[in-house]
Symmetry: C2
Subunit: 349 residues, 2 copies
DNA sequence: CTGAAAGCGCTTACAG
DNA sequence: CTGAAAGCGCTTACAG
């Protein structure tokens, strides 16, 4: 004789409702506290009880309600991504990386761009963090470089992960991108090609990345016996237009540098623009190197040699750091840039 | 004699805790139900009661807890953004637009990229929507064009806003981008310059935008007495590399078209690449037009004439549509593309 | 127009 | 190793 369908199939007894912790407890014949322990991976559950309950959860497709859990925990299952205004590709890559780490974790990614030039922007983030009771936030440059932001988060007890070119904080809260090394590699490469009169277009000194890339480039040149005069170092704004203006300055005089390293690809595109307008051939008469290895680098002609950063990995590490809750020691999260050689450089004429 | 500080300043009685609905009710001398009515903009509250409670809320900086509210409502205050794999700039612009609409609404944006080539991707979105009890989702092309996705969302009772080139659904759930019109404008422009032997590199026919841009271009040409032979219509993949391959095909023969319209800027960059390699001068020997007006368009040389879409507005409209809850009739959300003329076209030689 | 009771689906604090 | 009670901060359903 066929058994009652309700007994046969635990799913049927729910009549299409999503299961709750009470359903699981009832169907498994345990208390909801025991189910809760299993949800939260408590070791205080007998192996066979755990096995039975987990099987049941899988059968009925039970997933705990993040809002109920969040309400009881006084903390949501949301990770915030706080960023200022870098390039679209960078932002999207960080997001993809973060989502790689969050996949199947029960956590979701909430995006929160902001304007760090606004004097109240830290307060805006504070409200966001407190109202949503965020589990943690990822801080992307340049927001990540702002100590006032980190201090505010520490004050309100929100964990954070800072992505920056150098170790600005406790290693447990950092992903370090070592921009100095990437820039040094560019210097070594240009020197190896025989360049001695080189120039650099840097990003704004308000960005730590701009400072690090400059230090790395200048330092490595010095180590190889090449000095970079002040006139060969032009600060620009990490934008195409500012790159055009800087290139005009560097390429105006009689004695031009034979190579220019740009703090990012956008500014390198500005150098290309000026070179095209003024009839300077790249790489024959001028070598150019960028930083970011953005899609633009391979769209330009000739394809731009540039420093690649593993942005997706960076995002993944930052998010993973926020999920780890056991307090176990971890090695420093660190991602290394490396030079991608294309066709924009050759030995000087 | 100074009054007790606790009586004087309602904030002090909280001793640094965030206020809850109970605090507000107690301090205002009303029931929590009345506070709840005010939070939810119920008209069933006397004006002076409302005034008193709202003032108090402002004074103590009270904001209702989204998780508690969500738990009781059985629906979160999260908007999901579902997208497949378009360009980074497009995704970021949609996000910015959505956040414009969500600002100060109490809603947050949760990003959810997915892979529409995966046969189970609709189920993945279903789990996301149900587990998070999303308030609504924005569907970005090409996901937005998938009827199975819309059907699933209707089935589980999740509201959605579809961004697409044509009206695929109830106008209350659509933002229409009219790609056909943008492409028609390109045809008119090229015809007005005197081009008669033109070509088009289209996106993949699995994208509705690719079909619409093709129809718009071909249709407008026909209206002006120009027929586009099959050989002048090459399908590519919306990528730089596929644009290169398509351009090689179009520019190989003796009799080249005098103008090429590309379904997006990435493919137009591919045409530039082939023109540079083969010594074809743009715009002197070949006019080129793109679609998207991405940053790339103005980085290329000569700067690329392209169709601009107001992506940020598109995102704003889609999010705003999800927030509107009063069911009042709205005009169709619609955004018009327009041609941005730069230096990549001139009359044929 | 206003409120007391019960409940949303979980966890914490305590007891055994 | 397991569970009964109380509570997280709101809303719904009902009553007045």
């Amino acid at each position: 004789m066929p058994r009652n369908r309700t007994e046969d199939d635990p799913k049927a007894s729910l009549r299409g409702r999503a299961a709750t912790i009470n359903d699981i407890a009832r169907l498994a014949g345990v208390s909801k506290k025991t189910v809760s322990r299993i949800i939260n991976r408590s070791p205080l559950v007998r192996a066979d009880t755990r096995e039975k309950v987990e099987t049941l959860m899988r059968e009925v497709g039970y997933v705990p309600d993040p809002m109920a859990r969040g309400l009881a925990f006084r903390r949501s299952f949301l990770i915030g991504m706080i960023y200022d205004n870098p390039t679209a590709q960078y932002i999207v890559d960080i997001q993809y990386g973060a989502l790689d780490a969050l996949r199947d974790s029960g956590f979701e990614l909430v995006v929160h761009p902001c304007d760090s030039r606004n004097p109240n922007y830290v307060d805006g983030v504070r409200r966001f963090v407190q109202q949503q009771k965020l589990h943690g936030v990822m801080l992307v440059p340049r927001v990540s470089e702002d100590q006032a932001m980190a201090d505010m988060l520490a004050e309100v007890g929100c964990r954070y992960a800072r992505i920056a070119s150098v170790l600005l904080d406790n290693p447990e809260r950092m992903v370090v991108t070592h921009d100095r090394d990437g820039a040094a590699e560019v210097a070594d490469y240009l020197q190896s090609l025989g360049h001695r009169d080189v120039a650099m277009i840097t990003g704004p000194a308000t960005y730590r990345s701009a400072i690090e890339r400059t230090l790395g480039f200048v330092g490595a040149l010095e180590r190889r016996g090449i000095e970079l005069p002040k006139s060969r170092l032009v600060e620009a704004g990490y934008t195409f237009e500012s790159g055009v203006a800087a290139a005009e300055k560097l390429l105006a005089g009689k004695k031009r540098p034979t190579a220019i390293f740009c703090g990012n690809d956008e500014m390198a595109a500005g150098v290309y623009r000026v070179a095209l307008r003024t009839g300077i051939q790249i790489p024959k008469q001028l070598s150019v190197v960028g930083y970011d290895d953005s899609p633009l680098a391979s769209r330009l002609w000739p394809p731009l040699t540039s420093v690649r950063r593993d942005t997706r990995d960076t995002g993944r590490m930052a998010a993973a750091m926020l999920l780890q809750t056991d307090g176990a020691p971890r090695p420093l999260s660190s991602v290394r840039p490396h030079l991608v050689i294309r066709d924009s450089c050759q030995p000087p004429a």
